[in-house]
């Protein structure tokens, strides 16, 4: 341990319980962000301790990054400074749960899968079907705003997050919103925390609206030979009265990855996918009567749009496929040393010219996977074989092509996961934005002394 680290750890031990301070290098490596490791890890057991840590960092001009289980620390730009990792997993309880009101207040460090289990006992759930589901924390899910497969049916976190408690950069414990389902009392500051990547403060608690678990689930998997028929199918479903809960579009290569996905049973999914074809996976929920209606109508649409084949899945098969689709990002982020995943918020979310992205990757002989949710976002995952200068050069070219694609489609794009060396030549957040100045104002209000995750975010924040 370096002297600096010892000093920080020793001084931090004077403000919170020594047991919660860990300056060991193994521990610090675990919390490294893009190779930048903190000199100490603090694991607070209460929001009051979080306040102490932030005040300490503020007075010593040290930089902090709040972390959960570290599954998504790769998102963003390497921090310019990083001294203390706040391990939030010590705050891991359900603080309040009123099943009869369908509202929940949960500590940020609680494991998402564990939370799901507790809610399932009351036949309820939180519609966050996100990658890294089994390991990750609620707080990390919100702070990273990682996409949920259930967005088409349930909206995104901003639609069901009711309030939050957090410690801002001034070292004060603050809250926003509340625990009721409808509330306009004060500014909606909690919405700013969604996707803020720890740059505004340490989230200690989150309040959500919960939802009833559906009686049953079903899925249609349709194979299409052209991207135009996929678009036709999507348009037909969106104009129908049906309201599917998930709607995943998979390019041929992405479909293959899903087909090969092995779940806990360690067996690949049955042969629902046809090699070389585009696929659409539509998830739906409800009583038996409702599932029947979805099944027959979706099958009819698939036929009308020239699907080469389709499968209707029930219960356990549905669950296996849903899990594979949910974890696709997770899987691809580990698919090689140079794996790079773009998240594109284009409008409309999916159009036949996504094949231009495909062509872009081919130009550099890099294999790619395209997949999207009907309402967006669109993911473009690249898997170059080796990590070397040539690869980085190609990825940088592709990145500018992707950013152009997003701009042409009235949207924006960012790189979700990529090798750190690419971050030296490409801004993962894309080209400069015209609302950057406003974002900096928000940052300064929350974190006047720039203690939280400096340099990791958009616009140099």
């Amino acid at each position: 341990m370096s002297t600096v680290a010892t000093n920080v750890a020793a001084r931090l031990e004077t403000v919170i319980d020594a047991e919660r301070v860990n300056g060991g290098s193994d521990s610090c490596t675990k919390f490294a962000v893009d190779g930048v490791a903190p000199s100490v890890v603090a694991r607070p057991a209460s929001s009051a301790e979080v306040v102490e840590i932030v005040r300490f960092a503020k007075s010593e001009k040290l930089a902090l990054i709040p972390c959960g289980i570290c599954t998504k620390l790769g998102i963003g730009i390497p921090p310019t400074r990083y001294d203390i990792a706040i391990d939030m997993t010590g705050l891991n309880q359900i603080a309040y749960y009123d099943p009869a009101d369908l509202t929940l207040s949960v500590d940020a460090g609680m494991n998402l899968a564990q939370l799901a289990e507790a809610l399932a006992q009351q036949k309820q759930f939180l519609p966050l079907a996100v990658p890294f589901f089994d390991e990750c924390t609620v707080g990390g899910t919100i702070a990273s705003n990682i996409g949920s497969a259930l967005q088409p049916g349930y909206g995104s976190a901003r639609d069901f997050l009711l309030g939050a408690e957090f410690v801002n950069g001034a070292g004060t414990f603050t809250k926003s919103g509340g625990r009721v389902v409808k509330n306009v009392t004060g500014y909606d500051l909690h919405k700013l925390l969604i996707g803020s990547l720890g740059t505004l403060g340490a989230i200690t608690r989150l309040n959500f609206r919960t939802f009833p678990l559906p009686e049953g689930y079903g899925h249609l998997v349709g194979a299409f030979s052209s991207v135009d028929s996929v678009e036709r199918f999507q348009a037909m479903v969106s104009k129908s009265p049906l309201a599917p809960s998930t709607f995943n579009i998979l390019g041929p290569e992405a479909a293959q990855t899903v087909a090969e996905f092995k779940d806990d049973r360690d067996s690949p999914l049955p042969s629902w996918f046809t090699r070389g074809e585009w696929h659409v996976c539509v998830g739906f929920e409800g009583t038996e009567t409702i599932l029947r209606r979805y099944s027959s109508e979706l099958a009819q649409y698939a036929q009308q749009c020239g699907a080469s084949n389709y499968h209707l899945l029930q219960e356990s098969d549905d669950k296996a496929l849903g899990g594979a689709l949910r974890e696709l990002l997770n899987l691809l982020s580990w698919s090689g040393p140079a794996a790079t995943i773009f998240k594109i918020n284009a409008f409309p979310g999916f159009t036949p010219d996504v094949i231009n992205l495909h062509a872009l990757a081919q130009q550099f002989s890099i294999s790619c996977r395209i997949f999207a949710s009907s309402s967006g976002p669109l993911y473009f995952a690249l898997q170059p074989g080796d990590l070397n200068d040539k690869t980085i050069g190609s990825l940088a070219h592709i990145a500018s092509g992707v950013f152009e694609y997003a701009a042409e489609h009235d949207g924006s794009a960012s790189i979700l996961f990529c090798p750190t060396s690419l971050k030296r030549v490409v801004n993962v957040w894309g080209p400069a934005r015209n609302d950057s100045a406003l974002m900096r104002r928000v940052k300064n209000a929350f974190d006047p002394e720039n203690c939280f995750a400096p340099g990791r975010f958009v616009a140099g924040i």
Binding site: D101, K182, N183, Y187, D188, L189, D410, G411, S414, A445
Partner: protein
Amino acid sequence: MHVDCKGDASLTIVGKEVTYLPAENTARKPLHRDVIRGLQNILGASMVLHRPEDLLLYEYDGSVEKGRPGAVVFPTTTQEVSQVVRLAAQHDVPVIGRGAGTGLSGGALARTGGVMIVFARMNRILELDLENQRAVVQPGMVNYELTRAAEAGGLYFAPDPSSWKSCTIGGNVSENAGGPHTLAYGVTTNHVTALELVLPDGEICRVGSRHGDSVGYDLAGLFVGSEGTLALVTEITVKLLRKPENVKTLLAIFDDVDGASETVAEITARAITPAACEMLDGWTLRAVEDFIHAGFPLDSAAVLLIELEGLAEVVAAQVAAVEEVCLEHHAREVRVARDEQERELLWRGRKNAFGALGRIAPSNYVLDGVIPRSKIPQALRRIREIGERYNFKIGNIFHAGDGNLHPIVLFDPRDAGQYQRAIEASAEIIRYCVEIGGALTGEHGVGMEKSELMPLLFSDDDFGLMRRIHDAFNPRSALNPGKIFPLNKGCGEITPRAQAAVRAVPL
């Protein structure tokens, strides 16, 4: 003088002797003639009102508050708005945005005078993208008009405040307005994807995206519901929803209020999620029935108006489930509207209720507290008990499914003692809402009306951060001053009403 606001307006002030409004609210110095001339140069003389008799109408909104602007202007473009804001900044004069003035918390009132920008002439749809379910509108667009325009494509704009036929989308955005159908579809913020803004220095900028998700902080999420205290909104991109395949409207009739409120709690607990679930207590429904003839049975203690929407199969299952819950809680009868006409009549009864109540008492004070749905029965009992203790009639007509209460305290403002007691009773109700885990306002906004109650929910540290956000965008309080934040208690600016509230609610 008789002021009767349209739509959801809760206020009817009769007679000149209404003097209870604090002097601070009406305190204003006339605008310097250079300001008036500057405004006329930007917009043309006919688009600038500055004579006292012309300004009178703009002193009010739908609340019991009051505040007169020094001038009222009607720009037609974002550029003009920006120019007006720049001019005002040069002369250190506040700027207040206003839609139709149907707000219920004093959000669109010129608390300390200044230039009021009325968006009535910025009322166009700039783009209607039926294919992708988006519309880009100017802030003065009337809520209902957007839904009418989208109907051709089988779409509609979901937020539907009672005042939807007159209120504007700009106003909805500022207040993050709700409505009966927010139970299933969310409030305004859930339907806004991008905004064009004019900041207090006149700068024009855009936040959000057509898609909704974009890179960086959710700035659109911050500005929606900020009550015009951070920026003026000059253009709004909204989502449009597809009309449901099937709609069924039920009227459940109860012989006691507890039965109705327990039904609501049970519908929530069983997670039946109707599109709307509204409650009218017996006293309120009788007042409404006299006026609207919606078909509410006069001898009932409470009715629930429940709407179920979606796939025919989903609706059929939900109707059966709702009926079962109603009957278990001793509903006398559950009627299903037979056709569109019957449905509309029931809704007319609900949406015009506040107007109907204006006929009964000289004034009323509508609260907007929101509570956990599991606590509706106990909250209604407490409200009744508070009413009895203060000797007031308190009606209840509200968004039961959301737990968004609207207790209506009826009083005569000409009787100072009555007024004071009405305010104390109201404060006690709000304090109770907070005590059981609720909030001050579900959809009407804080505005001038509830700013002094904010400390019930927020600590000094909470205010500290909110104030820093406020100052990051509106550092000199040039936009909509005197809203949301409690006034400095040391300056003697606190209103008599607020004093009462503060006394009734030890902080």
